[in-house]
Amino acid sequence: MRALHAEWTKFRTVRGWVLGSVGAMLASVLFLLVGTASSNQHPQGVTALPVGPGGEAVNDSFYFVHRALTGDGSITVLVTALTGVLADPAGGPGGNTSGVTPWSKAGILVKESLDQGSPYAAMMVTGAHGVRMQNDFTHDRAGLAGSPSAAEPRWLRLVRTGRTVIGLDSIDGVRWTEVGAARLPEPATTVQVGLFVAAPAAVQASGGGSSSPATATGDFRRVTLSGAWGQAAGGWQGGQVGGDAGTSGSYAPGTIGGWTATTGEGFTVTGAGDIAPVVGGPALGPAFTVETFLVGTFVGLIVLTVVAVQFVTTEYRRGLLGQTLAATPHRSRTLAAKATVVATVAFAVGAAAATVSIPLGELRAHATHFAVLTVPTAVQARAALGTGLLLAATAVLSLALGVVLRRSATAITAVVAATVFPHLLAFGGMLPSGPAEWVLRLTPAAGFAVQQTLPRHDQVLSVYAPSSGYFPLSPWGGLAVLGTWSALALAAAAMLLRRRDA
């Protein structure tokens, strides 16, 4: 405890170190301002992405043939085909080919309202993933496998009872299997229920990734309703929910959304877009993420590395370390005290800078009409706290390397080259995704994964690779890699400090 107090006193009485720490915070925020200043004249004035019930940015654009359900009730439908049109990936005119994207969807939907982002539950057939029940954008459960065809159609049913919606599927319309249940958060008495079709863009993974428009058409037969259906509206209404664009796709050239009634209570519905969370990748246009707002971390990291290294190398240089070690003969204890002080300071600087930067970045994005990939508050908090921990671990690594190398210039360069440079190499587009992922698994740069807020969802096809901003490790897993480096360096420092003369 006395050692800790002594080290803290040393730290706070050296003006350069205190100024450096405060400067690190200011510099990271300033750097953010420079980084986002660019987009002042954003041409289209992208509208904000809709936000789902969980607080995450979502795509909610699809073709919906619907009517109001005022109380309890159910809808049953037979899906006989899901077909589609894919635009030419090269963008050539009239180069459409037939085909469906793996997550093209046709099915039935219970949605709280026609507003984008409102809660929903849906049963659907998909292009390549069989029957699914999905609700509130992030939940996805598998039902029957296989694609529907005239010979092997799929029966889908949604039953609403109070706040609960149950999804069922069947091969013959006689024996039904429950796929899942969902709760609509608002006990709204009137919900919109009907048939929907969506088709996310086709994703080409090669060459860094690109995406091209797709349109899908679902053939529905024997639509059967039971329960409290509103009569006032006078039957079915069709329309596109949300704009054509989203980040998920748009209509292939020459196709439009629409619906026609066929014989025997049947419908043919054509649509594009997606009902799914927004993810990074080729389909995501220009948008800011929380990671963008945390770009100042790099500046903070460099400044704090300088401070943390000097916190120990200065003592070597001035010979103060001899006195320090005479006063506290347990050398490891001195090292632990020093590490605690720099880690605490770095954590405070990082967490504070991130806490200021995220809302500030959002404000600037709104001011410049720039889309922001919104994430739940818990994810933002993790990124902000994680930034603190990231800087704390880097500061400990710097301190330890300062002891091992005893040369501030060498230690600082080693730390910055080991943390910042691999990040630059992996995300700079020079390395293909395989080696880039290994760089981000093994080097201390893995720690930046804790700042990743871009979500990864199995039910959304994208290029989940460094080229789209994805780390190979989970946020905490990546931080653990950096933490391991820091711990190893600290152990080496403790050993050398014991063995070596100061």
């Binding site: 360069t413 700079g428 020079m430």
Partner: protein, 266 residues
């Protein structure tokens, strides 16, 4: 050049050379510079495949990728040449022995340039050789539109020679900064920030104009344009112009360092 005393300059150079030669860390550092340049270059050459013709990769740039890592070692070499003296107070002795401070800086710059030039040449030549041997195995074959890497090819020679100059200029930039801020640690922070922050910022910036501007102004992205041999018309800045930008940064830093060295107490 009447004010410059050539004998004094030569003696200053010899003194700096002795310091560099006898300093414990420098040998390892320079060996590391060669190993890192070749190692990273070879790893990148072997791991970036060219599966089909028109894979769009610049094979010269790949084989010289190690330079972007080893520049840090060139910077450390420069930092130790100055920082060590400020740290121990040796700089006062140096300046008493050689009262012409401009001469001291010029001698340090000369010795540093010569050393990095020699070591950098070895590193770059070995990288090209590694690329020559490894790249065909990764798919850079005549069938895919690539000729085997060779210095007889004009652009390749330019990229190789330019990469050596790039390392020298990074060293000189660091020397200038180190003399200006008189503290090796702070100088290390400043130089690394100058090198790395421009490319990091251009990842975030979404506006194409500003992105190109950052690629033209940043010492690292502009300077490394010297390694490009394909798609030259689409580069934000031409190879020699880019190296010129880095040279301007280095000259500014040296001028600033020289002025501060003359005006201030050590």
């Amino acid at each position: 050049m009447s004010g410059v005393d050539t004998i004094g300059f030569r003696r200053a150079c010899r003194a700096e050379w002795t310091k560099l030669r006898t300093e414990a860390g420098h040998g390892w550092l320079l060996l590391g510079l060669v190993l890192v340049t070749v190692g990273v270059g070879a790893a990148v050459s072997a791991s970036v495949p060219c599966p089909a013709s028109g894979c769009g990769q610049d094979q010269v740039r790949l084989s010289l990728a190690g330079v972007s890592v080893s520049q840090a070692l060139a910077a450390v070499t420069a930092l130790l040449l100055v920082g060590g003296e400020y740290g121990t107070g040796l700089i006062r002795t140096t300046l008493v022995a050689l009262p012409r401070r401009g001469t001291v800086l010029a001698a340090k710059a000369t010795v540093l340039s010569g050393t990095v030039l020699a070591v950098g040449s070895v590193a770059v030549l070995a990288s090209i050789l590694a690329g020559h041997l490894l790249l065909p195995g990764a798919g850079y074959t005549p069938a895919h539109g690539y000729t085997q890497l060779s210095l007889a090819d004009g652009p390749t020679l330019r990229a190789a020679a330019g990469s050596v100059l790039y390392l020298v200029l990074v060293g000189l930039l660091t020397l200038g900064v180190a003399v200006a801020v008189r503290d090796a640690a702070v100088a290390a922070g400043v130089v690394l920030a100058l090198l790395y922050l421009f490319p990091l910022l251009s990842h975030v910036v979404t506006e194409p104009h500003l992105q190109r501007l950052l690629a033209r102004l940043g010492p690292m992205p502009a300077g490394l344009a010297i390694q490009a041999t394909t798609n030259l018309s689409h580069l934000p800045i031409g190879p020699w112009a880019g190296l010129g930008v880095l040279a301007l940064w280095a000259a500014t830093a040296l001028f600033l360092g020289g002025t501060i060295l003359r005006l201030r107490n050590a």
